[in-house]
Amino acid sequence: FRFKDSLAEDLRRADLVISHAGAGSCLEALEKGKPLVVVINEKLMNNHQLELAKRLHRDGHVVCCNCSTLVETLQSMDLSTLKPFPPGQPEKFALFLDKVVGFQ
C-alpha cells in the first residue's frame, strides 16, 4: 500500500514488524508491544535519525540490521531477548507545567 492515514490496524494484527529507522515508525510498533526489526539504510538517513534506533538497539528493545543482512537476521534472531519499551508519561509533563505556570 502507498500512504494510509494510519497503520494502527495493521500493527495491531501483526506478530512482527520490520521497519526503517524512522522514529515514528519505531515508537508506534514498540508501544503496541510488537517485536521490531529496524533496518538501517545509512545512505538515506540523516545522522540524527539514527540516534533513536541506535539507542533502542543498545537498550535491547529492537533488533537491528541493514538491508544486506536482513534475511540472515530474520533467520537467526532471538526475539525473546527483546526488552519491553514502557510508554512515555505525559502526566509528568503536566505536573511539571502546572508548577511552572502556578496552577497547583
Binding site: 533513536l52 505525559p90 509528568k92 503536566a94 511539571f96 511552572v100
Partner: protein, 169 residues
C-alpha cells in the same frame, strides 16, 4: 509537521482545562497537522466542555537541510508573519517542540517581552528522537527558553540547564 505534531498532542493530553484557549501555529506547507489537531480537540471536547482552540499558519521557516544563509532569510520572512500573530494572540505560555516554525514564534514572543508588551513563558520540549544531539531549533532555543526539557539522560548531561523528566511522549 508530522512527528512534531504527534508529539506535542501527546504532551497536551494530560493538561488540565486551565490551559485554554489553545492556539496552534504550524507551517503553511503542512498538510496533515490540521486533521490531527482537530481530531485531538474533538476528543478533548468530549471530556471538557469549555474547549477553545484556534489554528494559524505561518510560512515554513526552513526546509530540511536548507543552507544557513537562506535559512536566516526564510526565518526572517516567517517572523514577519509570526510577529503580528503573536502580538494578536498575546500568549501567556508558549509550548513548542522543535519544528522550524517554533523559532519565529518564540523570537516574536521574546521581542514582545523586551518591548514590555507581553511576557510569555517559553517551554521547549526536545523531541524524543533526540538522544545525543539537539535539533537546530533546540540549539537556538536552549538559550532563549525559560524551560528546556530533554527526554534522554545524555542530553541532560550535555546541556545542564535543561530539565529531564524521563520520556514524556
Amino acid at each position: 509537521t508530522g512527528g512534531h505534531t504527534t508529539e506535542i498532542l501527546r504532551l497536551l493530553s494530560c493538561l488540565s482545562e486551565s490551559y485554554s484557549p489553545r492556539h496552534y501555529i504550524f507551517a503553511d506547507s503542512d498538510k496533515m497537522s490540521e486533521a490531527k489537531i482537530r481530531s485531538f480537540e474533538q476528543k478533548r471536547a468530549e471530556t471538557f466542555s469549555n474547549s477553545q482552540f484556534t489554528l494559524d499558519r505561518i510560512p515554513r521557516s526552513r526546509e530540511v537541510r536548507q543552507s544557513w544563509t537562506s535559512s536566516v532569510v526564510t526565518t526572517l520572512y516567517s517572523i514577519l508573519y509570526a510577529l503580528p500573530l503573536t502580538y494578536r494572540l498575546k500568549p501567556d505560555l508558549i509550548l513548542c517542540n522543535g519544528p522550524g516554525t517554533c523559532v519565529p514564534v518564540c523570537i516574536s514572543a521574546l521581542l514582545l517581552g523586551l518591548l514590555g508588551i507581553k511576557r510569555a513563558i517559553i517551554v521547549y520540549v526536545e523531541s524524543i528522537c533526540r538522544v545525543e544531539t539537539l535539533s537546530l531549533s533546540g540549539k537556538i532555543l536552549y538559550y532563549f527558553s525559560d524551560y528546556f526539557i530533554v527526554q534522554w539522560p545524555d542530553l541532560k548531561e550535555k546541556y545542564p540547564k535543561s530539565v529531564y523528566l524521563g520520556r514524556i511522549v
